[in-house]
């Protein structure tokens, strides 16, 4: 039973391996991302109404939800496309400013972002971001460092950001990794 007074202790649940697909429509110049749960990434070009979608790239990733071990409350993370570690690439960025402030106390800043296009898809709300942050901090057993998770809204131009997005790079390459 869900308990509003519960001091939640989060666990990861409903883990599903998937692909994150990035597509571009050459007609309207729209860039989209979405998760695919298919066994192979869909890479064929296709038409959808006015759009002519072409795959720009894909990476392996996971979908998951978070659930309280104590009261069973489930927080769905359907709007979460990925997590990115801020590495401080742009002096004027609000996330970098926060990082500079927090890194002195070893609090590391990660950005939780939703799917493209940001202005047309539902992004993560404050509760989802807060629960994500609690989950990763509860999971860390170190008392010397913490995680701060912020919304992707804080980044003015995502395409200029050089943060480190957590994804499986080159896992489907047909060539063995170079030494």
């Amino acid at each position: 039973m869900q308990d509003e007074s519960c001091k939640h202790l989060w666990k990861i649940t409903n883990i599903k391996p998937c692909f994150i697909i990035n597509e571009f429509c050459y007609k309207c110049k729209k860039n989209t991302t979405y998760f695919s749960l298919e066994e192979r990434p869909p890479i064929e070009r296709y038409q959808e109404g006015e759009h002519f979608w072409n795959t720009l790239g894909y990476d392996q990733s996971i979908r998951f939800d978070l659930q309280c071990k104590k009261c069973g409350k489930l927080v769905k993370m359907e709007e979460l496309a990925g997590l990115m570690m801020c590495t401080g690439c742009e002096d004027n960025c609000k996330v970098y400013s926060l990082m500079k402030e927090l890194e002195k106390e070893r609090t590391w800043v990660y950005v939780a972002f939703g799917f493209l296009p940001f202005d047309e898809t539902k992004q993560l709300d404050k509760e989802q971001i807060s629960v994500l942050e609690d989950y990763f901090n509860q999971r860390r057993k170190s008392s010397t460092s913490k995680i701060k998770i912020v919304s992707g809204d804080l980044i003015e131009n995502f395409s200029l950001c050089y943060g480190n997005i957590i994804k499986d790079v080159d896992m489907l390459s047909s060539k063995p990794p170079e030494n």
Partner: protein, 109 residues
């Protein structure tokens, strides 16, 4: 076992500055999403992945160290990022399986 003891015992090469810490388990995987969702905080992570994304994952879940196996070269960018975020990276010439057996035999589980 502490990390510096492990480095000496298994002749691991430290590729970054080392912050000594207790090892609380071992996780073997080459998929970052798998490590992010399942590895325990404080674990050693053995992998052949060397992309700088490994630093983001190790930092996020507070792993004790990453061991790059098979003697793979690690790009300078990965090492620089790891030093900045206090992530320990070690290297072993052994394949993951062989090093895992040695760790188990030494009581590191």
């Amino acid at each position: 076992m502490k990390l510096k003891e492990l480095i000496d015992k298994f002749e691991l090469k430290a590729l970054t500055n080392i912050e000594d810490t207790h090892i609380k388990g071992v996780y073997l995987s080459d998929m970052l999403s798998d490590v992010m969702s399942r590895a325990e905080s404080g674990s050693l992570w053995m992998t052949i992945q060397t992309h700088k994304n490994i630093v983001s994952v190790a930092n996020l879940i507070d792993l004790s160290a990453i061991i790059i196996t098979n003697g793979k070269n690690v790009p300078d960018g990965t090492i620089e990022l790891a030093n900045r975020f206090y992530v320990n990276i070690l290297s072993s010439p052994l394949p993951t399986y062989e090093l895992a057996i040695k760790l188990v035999e030494a009581g590191v589980k």
